[in-house]
Symmetry: C2
Subunit: 314 residues, 2 copies
């Protein structure tokens, strides 16, 4: 049994254009890292958080990773004590699944320190408990891909039904994060609670097309399907210059481009590494010419989920 | 070049539970048959219609098959004359895609008599012209699977984007047609034009799950995904004893069961031929005990679309 472990959990893109609340994907980078140690005394201690500019609570019952680990320990009826060091390596409140990454890293680390009593899929409900602290409600479309890797469909929330969708090997994702903060709750509040049947039909045609395109490695179909007629027209109002930035990504060869989660980050899918590099550059140039500060990340789709960064055992 | 041809086009199930207006499937039987002959004089003549109890127009501009063939000839700028004999081999106005089958058989037959200038996929817009005569609007989720076979996703109507979804080999479909008639227009009128975002999310989770389940041959996922929270609760009101009949099908082992198209026919998917037989028998028993008259058809999913029934050439 290990005494300590370091775990990386990836950033994720929820919604993926036409899959509001039901589809998410994980990238290889950026992501969050935890270092966890078993301790003699029971109880969870968060000993350090780096990279959060002091924004996150060190109180385990108010911290995403802390709450997730506590929920897991409670489920397993364990009083094993643990220390958690959290290293945030991506922007917070940015729509890149930062809280899900910390929650997933936490439960995966704790599960290892406990001798892996649960499978990755079985850890999902506990990571979602942590997500609730950050977002008010648990939307699994960040936590599930952070935990399982790749594209994950949340077919149902009650009961929870997360399905991994096979995707082409050479699919790349570009993330771009303009420097402004949107609270997930605010981004939810502006959505209409009723939509037209006509729009809904278009959306379910597109989500079905996207899943088929991913599974058939049909890049053209992926591209045609990446259209969101329901959420993007509203949420894009919160992101200044959204349409110019999106157009720059598409002009540079992206298959499609949309809001990552509830924003303000955006994402683009690309059919090859060099295209992803071109898209990243085009967006960076666009940011510069618009006078928007921000970061751009290019990465492969992460197929494996969290990574164990060392294998030091006792 | 052939002088005459006989073509069979299959019955189809539109909507397939959670795929309202975007998904359809074709079965091996029943279906409609046309016999077509080239004639010297230009113009289309419908020389005979069997099995329609006199309900269909013999006037080419008012008949589904006639309109489809005329649209194809116009597109090809051809004045080739043709005679059409139509043999209806399934109930009309029943939700089994009867008008789509006639339209598809017509355009496929005409295309062969003209030396096959178009591919099957290219014939779809002309079959839809015929569908318009029958239904007022063109919904491609019957005509596309009748033409292409298997399960077909209509990702978009404008532009028309029909995508074939690969499905497990041993998938069977049971169709049951209670003896009552529902007009497609009426079945549309009772639908709500606005729906809740919450219901829509559930529906797009299910349609994405169904497509993933079909493509991965995951029968359990197919079964879990076959839920329609939007259309079925309303349209099932038009079908007396709907819930009892559905329960009988599920109890007999069906993966899922729902309304076929706009009803009143219903369908069930089954993972094997013997299960399909059991489901067919259970529904027939249910019909008998409820005092509902009707027909039951068991068949494999049709993977090839229309069949050419002879190969008599000149």
């Amino acid at each position: 049994m290990r005494d300590q472990v370091r775990v990386f959990a990836p950033a994720t893109v929820a919604n993926v254009a036409c899959g509001f609340d039901v589809l998410g994907l994980a990238v290889d980078a950026p992501g969050d890292e935890v270092r966890m140690r078993r301790r003699e005394e029971p109880g969870i201690r968060i000993t350090q958080i780096r990279g959060d500019q002091g924004k996150l609570s060190r109180e385990p019952t108010k911290n995403t990773a802390g709450v997730s680990v506590l929920a897991l320990l409670k489920h397993l009826d364990s009083d094993q004590g643990m220390e958690i060091e959290l290293s945030k390596q991506m922007p917070l409140g940015s729509g890149l699944g930062s809280s899900a990454a910390s929650a997933v890293a936490g439960v995966v680390g704790a599960n290892i320190l406990l001798g892996e009593p649960l499978t990755a899929a079985e850890l999902l409900p506990f990571a979602l408990e942590g997500e609730k602290v950050a977002c008010g409600v648990a939307h699994a479309d960040n936590a599930a891909p952070a935990l399982l890797g790749g594209f994950v469909l949340i077919r149902s929330y009650n009961p929870l039904d997360a399905i991994k969708i096979n995707t082409p090997d050479r699919l790349y994702c570009v993330l771009f994060h303009p420097e402004l903060e949107i609270r997930t709750e605010d981004a939810r509040k502006i959505l209409k609670q009723r939509i037209t049947l006509k729009d809904a039909i278009q959306q379910w045609g597109n989500i079905a097309g996207l899943v088929a395109g991913l599974m058939q490695s049909d890049y053209d179909l992926i591209s045609r399907s990446m259209q969101d007629v329901i959420i993007e027209p509203i949420r894009s109002l919160l992101i200044p210059k959204f349409h110019k930035i999106k157009q720059a990504a598409l002009d540079a060869g992206a298959l499609g481009c949309g809001i990552s989660g509830s924003g303000p980050s955006m994402f683009a899918l690309c059919a090859a590494e060099n295209i992803a590099a071109d898209v990243g550059k085009a967006v960076q140039d666009q940011f510069a010419s618009l006078g928007v500060g921000g970061e751009v990340f290019c990465s492969k789709i992460n197929q494996q989920g969290p990574k164990i960064l060392d294998d030091q055992s006792s």
